[in-house]
């Protein structure tokens, strides 16, 4: 579905990704794990068009994404829930969700997705009129995911959805993420909590200082001594 080849990305003169290649298969839940600064978020930011690659290609269903502006990429069905949630904090929850479907014009589909989102996160329905900035951290994370779902994603990029959340919220969020597959959404999950990620992921890439170090199925990774030692703390 998505193919990244020899990707290198720079922040100014600092190289954040070096020659990264990876594949996302239709319908899978792919996890990217690794330490801070390994380049996980950079990969997501480059796919969604926030960053422009220096070299390398990103191909999504036979179309090249390199250098396309973010709004074009959203139109292709790739939605990105960034780290730190990035809600429109002065806008109401209802407006946030409305903007989630900004590029869609199928009123009926939008209405259905709203209902779906409310069934996944019932708390949002109670908070519709509230400014998003006044929600709790966990509620904001839910809203950020809900907003992305309103964009009818075929590929969803999730960056650190559990960051700073209580265990209870983390459970809820991971439950929802695990269920996205049934809805036909392919997911790329970036997560520091490697153990939680491996629990629900089909396949995993391990990144280190801007390069892919290892890759394989979750089961393989869980059995890998190196991964166990470095990322699972065993």
């Amino acid at each position: 579905m998505l193919e990244i080849k020899n990707l290198s990305v720079y922040y100014g003169s600092i190289r954040a990704l070096r020659d990264v290649s990876l594949t996302v298969r239709e319908g899978e839940l792919l996890a990217l794990i690794g330490a801070n600064g390994a380049g996980k978020s950079t990969i997501l930011r480059t796919i969604s068009g926030l960053l422009v690659p220096k070299t390398g290609t990103i191909t999504y269903e036979d179309e090249s994404l390199g250098g396309l502006p973010p709004h074009r990429i959203v139109s292709m069905g790739i939605l990105h829930v960034p780290e730190g949630r990035q809600v429109f904090s002065h806008l109401s929850v209802a407006e946030n969700l409305m903007l989630g479907s900004y590029r869609r014009s199928d009123a009926k589909g939008i209405e259905e997705d709203r209902e779906t989102v409310f069934s996944l996160f019932p708390v949002l329905k109670e908070r519709l009129k509230q400014a998003a900035g006044t929600l709790s951290g966990g509620e904001q994370q839910m809203m950020a995911i809900a907003r992305a779902l309103m964009g009818k994603p075929r590929l969803l990029l999730l960056d650190e959805p559990s960051l700073g959340l209580s265990p209870l919220f983390t459970d809820t969020i991971f439950e929802v993420i695990a269920g996205l597959k049934q809805r036909g959404i392919t997911v790329v999950l970036v997560e520091q909590n490697a153990y939680r990620a491996l629990e629900i992921a089909d396949r995993v890439y391990v990144l280190e200082t801007g390069t892919v170090k290892l890759s394989g199925t979750s089961a393989e990774m869980l059995a890998n001594d190196e991964v166990k030692h470095a990322y699972l703390g065993e």
Partner: protein, 298 residues
């Protein structure tokens, strides 16, 4: 000092404030999204006024029609300037964009001098507007009424636009969080162009109001009202639309009241008052009356 005198000054203040409010809204929308203080905003106002005058005199259009067409031209010019001068500087420093907007301002003013000369021209409005209306001891003109009424209608429409339409909500979204706006698929360039268009059109209305009151226009007419409207936007909390409107009205009223209440010897100092207010606001309440707290840089 009688109550009716103060009431009279309040009406004058409200009409000047309405003009500032309309200009300030344009500053605020653009600043909210791009963190750009567009010093050329006041000069776009001047262009709008000249186009209005041209359409009235040369094409014999009635004032409201001329003004509407001028709004459209100003909107186009505003978008053109953004595309040419500001878009290449999206990632540049605050100072670089500020200087550029000053350069654009000087450029427009001198283009004005070159094409229509620095000589002031008469801007005559239909006699209907200068009719006096007497309510008890307070006297005002139809023009006052039209200014305040038009501004009120425009601001209400603006509120509806920014809360009820997709484009309007997207505009607020861009001002709120540009990254998130990118990620929900909003084309930032479209929104920025729209905000320049909107701001420029509103500035034209404000300019026609100013021209109608003073009866004279010249190529430098926009600069000082533009600066004062910026003060109004800061006063209300730059980036906030209701703040810009409120700031404009408060500043206009304060200016008129200060001039009206202080001994006449002080009235030439009115421009100085405005900037003393600015410096005080920046120091005491830098986010303005309605501004949000978290976004001012360092």
């Amino acid at each position: 000092m009688s109550g009716s005198y103060i009431a009279q000054q309040l009406i004058n203040g409200l009409s000047l404030g309405s003009v500032y409010a309309l200009i300030a809204v344009g500053y605020s929308i653009v600043y909210g999204i791009l963190r750009l203080i567009n010093f050329a905003h006041g000069d776009i106002l001047m262009i709008g006024v000249y186009v209005t005058l041209f359409l009235m005199i040369q094409v014999h259009l009635p004032l409201p029609v001329a003004c509407l067409l001028a709004m459209a031209s100003a909107a186009l010019i505003g978008m053109f300037i953004e595309r040419l001068a500001y878009r290449p500087l999206r990632k540049a420093s605050e100072e670089a964009t500020l200087i550029t907007s000053l350069a654009v301002s000087i450029l427009i003013e001198n283009l004005g001098i070159m094409t229509v000369t620095a000589q002031p021209r008469a801007f005559n409005i239909p006699a209907f507007f200068s009719q006096g209306i007497q309510v008890g001891p307070v006297q005002f003109t139809t023009m006052n009424l039209v200014i305040v009424g038009t501004t009120a209608v425009i601001l209400l429409v603006l509120v509806a636009f920014t809360t009820r339409t997709k484009l309007g909500v997207a505009m607020r979204a861009c001002a709120d969080n540009l990254t998130a706006a990118n990620l929900v698929g909003i084309n930032i360039n479209v929104i920025v162009a729209a905000s320049f268009a909107l701001g420029s059109a509103l500035a034209t209305v404000a300019g026609v109001m100013l021209a109608g009151q003073y009866g004279r226009i010249d190529p430098l007419m926009g600069f000082v009202p533009g600066l004062k409207a910026f003060v109004a936007a800061v006063l209300g909390g730059i980036g906030s639309l209701p703040g810009a409107a409120l700031g404009g009205i408060v500043l206009g009223s304060a200016e008129i009241l200060l001039v009206g209440l202080l001994p006449p010897a002080f009235s030439p100092y009115r421009d100085a008052f405005v900037f003393i207010i600015l410096i005080l606001v920046l120091l005491v309440k830098p986010n303005g009356l309605l501004g949000s707290t978290e976004r001012r840089k360092g």
